[in-house]
């Protein structure tokens, strides 16, 4: 799983992941978990784009 790495998930959590990966149309639990992790990582990576953040805030006009 996950390229040879192993991740331990709580039993209940795993059951929920299985249930909702089916409902959401993912082809496998791995795909669902990969997607969820990518989404979270992209949030953190976005947070690192400091110049972009500053630029966006400066667009308000209130911040020169």
């Amino acid at each position: 799983m996950f390229g040879g790495g192993r991740i331990k998930l709580d039993k209940d959590l795993l059951a929920r992941v299985k249930k909702y990966s089916d409902i959401a149309g993912y082809s496998s639990v791995e795909e669902f978990i990969t997607h969820a992790l990518e989404k979270e990582l992209s949030k953190l990576e976005d947070a690192g784009s400091e110049e972009e953040i500053k630029k966006r805030l400066k667009g308000l006009g209130y911040i020169s």
């Binding site: 308000l60 006009g61 020169s64």
Partner: protein, 651 residues
């Protein structure tokens, strides 16, 4: 195949918001609210007394006129959210233009959040989104017009701030402040110049400068859109355009999309539709742009407005129903779609001169004002809210003309514009006149503003003050030009910090990612900092720097989102404002400096010093001394005596 909203939605910026409603049966009553952003009570009163605003005065004679207490803090998204929901920030969750994520200590715009798409199918250099991104309105709570709709009363809500994406709960809505340009920003202009090293090394806030070459009198350039969501490698969408310079006259022909526009120097174009091809066998994203030809020679200089969502084919939801924006465009022509369209950023950066900025602001103001008669003529009954923000934006960059004591006042130039703000107010008086012409004696007309205005003479660098008082510690005391975002903050020894335009936070253990102040010490520290803020004296003016230090837990009565707010809301003295530098998490060295920027008027101060206005053509059944009270007064005008939402309040 033209890909519009649906595809961009799933790709990058799209919206998962609910929309539509059942409309309502006519109840017969008509209430029209004109929302004039930033109309100052004191200045309005003065002009009324001088007979300059005859329609305002007529309404006041028939009904009432007075100050309207604004929100804490007096920032537009906060103020309008108070009005919309009848709650304070504790209930609607908007405390400042800028909030911060305590787990990453990164700031973000508080009113809406865009999240990217999810799964993609990759093929060569292309990717195809399989699930949607979303744009979420972060203002919480029910809007007052929902109550009306629930009672079968139709509502038309035009450009209500803090309502993007549109709530989908009014019969007709057009989004306003908070609506992005096509790049997803609050408006980024482009400036094309053949002048070498124009603005070299300068950080141009709110726009991009592109150096272009002229070959045989022809300039080839590109307009840039958002990142192409269909490419794996990050690459901006682009749309080519060509400019042919007349060899003799100060004239140029611009070919963009399928349009050819001939402009003389100093002329503005109308809206030019442009398409941004996606590649990857998929069509394109539609936008529109307005050009201003400043100069053909010796240097070629061309301004291009922020690229707007095209109301003829909006790529994001901007209205309810979705085709309402298109109906407006078909009736009166294309119009600025982004919130706050007056390009104050281009003026501040020097890309536009004062005259050019005013020309652009007048175009934007006229587009919106010209829609009013159309909207009013199609309004049968129920509620009509119509917003105009021209006074606010022009006041921000021109208020100094009313204040010869302002540090940026230029005695050679500014007297020429002494009547400018008055001219804007007189224009709004004309809008009130149009409403009076069309309304009957039984109709209710309310004219209101969200806050007033003041000269911004002195800048208060809150983080530098916190450092001076020992509440904030820096890593490098010698750092020059602190870039902000807390890069120089030593969190292990910092107890309080500022981010946002009126906000001060305690570096709280268990909340902030590097918090050090235990919860049991929070209140005592807040009391101490609040007292110190109120005791601070500006050595230049001899007056206080801060006249209100509102502690969050005591100030806000509504609950639900209180926890995301700042611990202290700093109400600076009239004339003093927290600097933009400090608002982005920079520390710097000086605590107080003169404000020498073009952005010379402001309202982000002690809320009692900048009230808005409330004008009504009849005494309201329920008086509204505060902005927050007004929506329930409006409901009562329709005979509806209920709170907008069940409240969870303290006390």
């Amino acid at each position: 195949m033209r890909v519009r909203f649906a595809l961009l939605l799933i790709a990058a910026l799209g919206c998962g918001c609910a929309r539509g409603n059942g409309g309502g049966t006519a109840a017969g009553k008509r209430v029209v609210i004109l929302g004039f952003d930033g109309l100052d009570y004191g200045y309005t009163k003065k002009l009324m007394e001088e007979g300059k605003l005859p329609n305002f005065s007529r309404v006041a004679r028939e009904g009432s006129f007075g100050p309207l207490e604004t929100s804490i803090p007096p920032q537009s998204p906060v103020a309008w959210s108070n009005f919309i929901t009848g709650m304070d920030s504790g209930g609607h969750g908007i405390f400042d233009f800028v909030h911060r994520k305590p787990d990453t200590m990164t700031p973000y715009l508080s009113a809406s959040e865009v999240s990217g798409g999810g799964k993609t199918l990759k093929f060569g250099k292309c990717q195809f989104p399989l699930s949607g991104g979303s744009v979420e309105l972060l203002r919480r709570g029910r809007a007052f017009w929902e109550v009306l709709e629930n009672h079968g009363i139709e509502t038309t809500v035009i450009r209500m701030p803090a309502n993007f994406p549109p709530s989908g709960t009014a019969t007709r809505e057009l989004s306003g402040m908070g609506t992005p340009d096509i790049r997803g920003t609050y408006g980024e202009f482009s400036f094309y110049t053949s002048k070498l090293f124009a603005f070299a090394g300068e950080d141009i806030a709110g726009g991009q400068v592109y150096e272009v070459d002229i070959y045989d009198g022809v300039v080839e350039a590109k307009l840039y859109g958002p990142d192409n969501p269909f490419l794996i490698e990050t690459e901006k969408l682009a749309s080519d355009f060509t400019v042919y310079l007349d060899p003799k006259d100060p004239v140029a022909k611009i070919v963009a999309g399928s349009e050819e526009i001939v402009l003389r120097e100093g002329e503005w174009s109308g809206w030019v539709p442009v398409e941004f091809p996606f590649t990857c066998w998929i069509g394109g994203l539609q936008g529109m742009v307005r050009f201003y030809l400043r100069s053909v020679r010796p240097d070629f200089e061309l301004y291009a407005s922020p690229i707007q969502l095209d109301p003829m084919a909006p790529a994001l939801p901007i209205s309810t129903p979705e085709d309402y924006a298109t109906d407006l465009a078909k009736a009166g022509g294309r119009f600025y779609v982004q919130g706050l369209p007056e390009d104050t950023k281009a003026r501040e950066s020097g890309v536009l001169t004062t005259e050019e900025f005013l020309a652009q602001a007048r175009i934007a103001g006229k587009e919106f004002a010209d829609q009013f008669p159309y909207v009013l003529d199609h309004f049968e009954d129920g509620l009509l809210f119509f917003y105009l923000g021209n006074a606010d934006q022009i006041s921000h960059v021109m208020w100094k003309v009313l204040d010869p004591g302002h540090p940026a006042y230029d005695p050679e130039v500014d007297p020429k514009y002494a009547g400018l703000i008055e001219e804007v107010y007189v224009g709004l008086d004309g809008i009130v006149g149009q409403a009076l012409e069309r309304l009957s004696a039984d109709d209710t007309l309310i004219v209101m503003s969200d806050h007033g205005f003041a000269s911004w003479r002195r800048s208060f660098h809150l983080n530098a003050w916190l450092k001076e008082k020992g509440y904030l510690v820096v890593k490098d005391p010698g750092m020059e030009d602190d870039p902000g975002l807390f890069v120089n903050v030593d969190w292990a020894h910092t107890r309080a910090y500022g981010i946002g335009l009126n906000a001060l936070y305690i570096n709280l253990k268990g909340r902030e990612s590097n918090g050090i102040v235990p919860e049991e010490k929070r209140k005592a520290l807040m009391d101490e900092i609040a007292a110190a803020l109120l005791a601070e004296v500006d050595p230049k003016t001899g007056g206080p720097v801060v006249t209100k230090a509102y502690q969050r837990d005591d100030t806000y009565k509504d609950r639900g989102y209180l926890e995301i707010g700042p611990d202290i809301i700093v109400g600076t003295a009239k004339g003093t404002r927290i600097s933009g530098h400090s608002a982005l998490g920079a520390v710097g060295k000086e605590v107080l400096t003169d404000n020498v920027d073009e952005w010379s008027g402001d309202h982000l101060m002690d809320h009692e010093t900048v009230p808005g206005i409330l004008l009504a053509n009849r005494p309201l059944k329920k008086p509204a001394p505060r902005l927050q009270d007004l929506a329930e007064s409006v409901l009562l005008e329709f005979g509806i005596d209920e709170s907008i939402q069940p409240r969870e309040r303290e006390n």
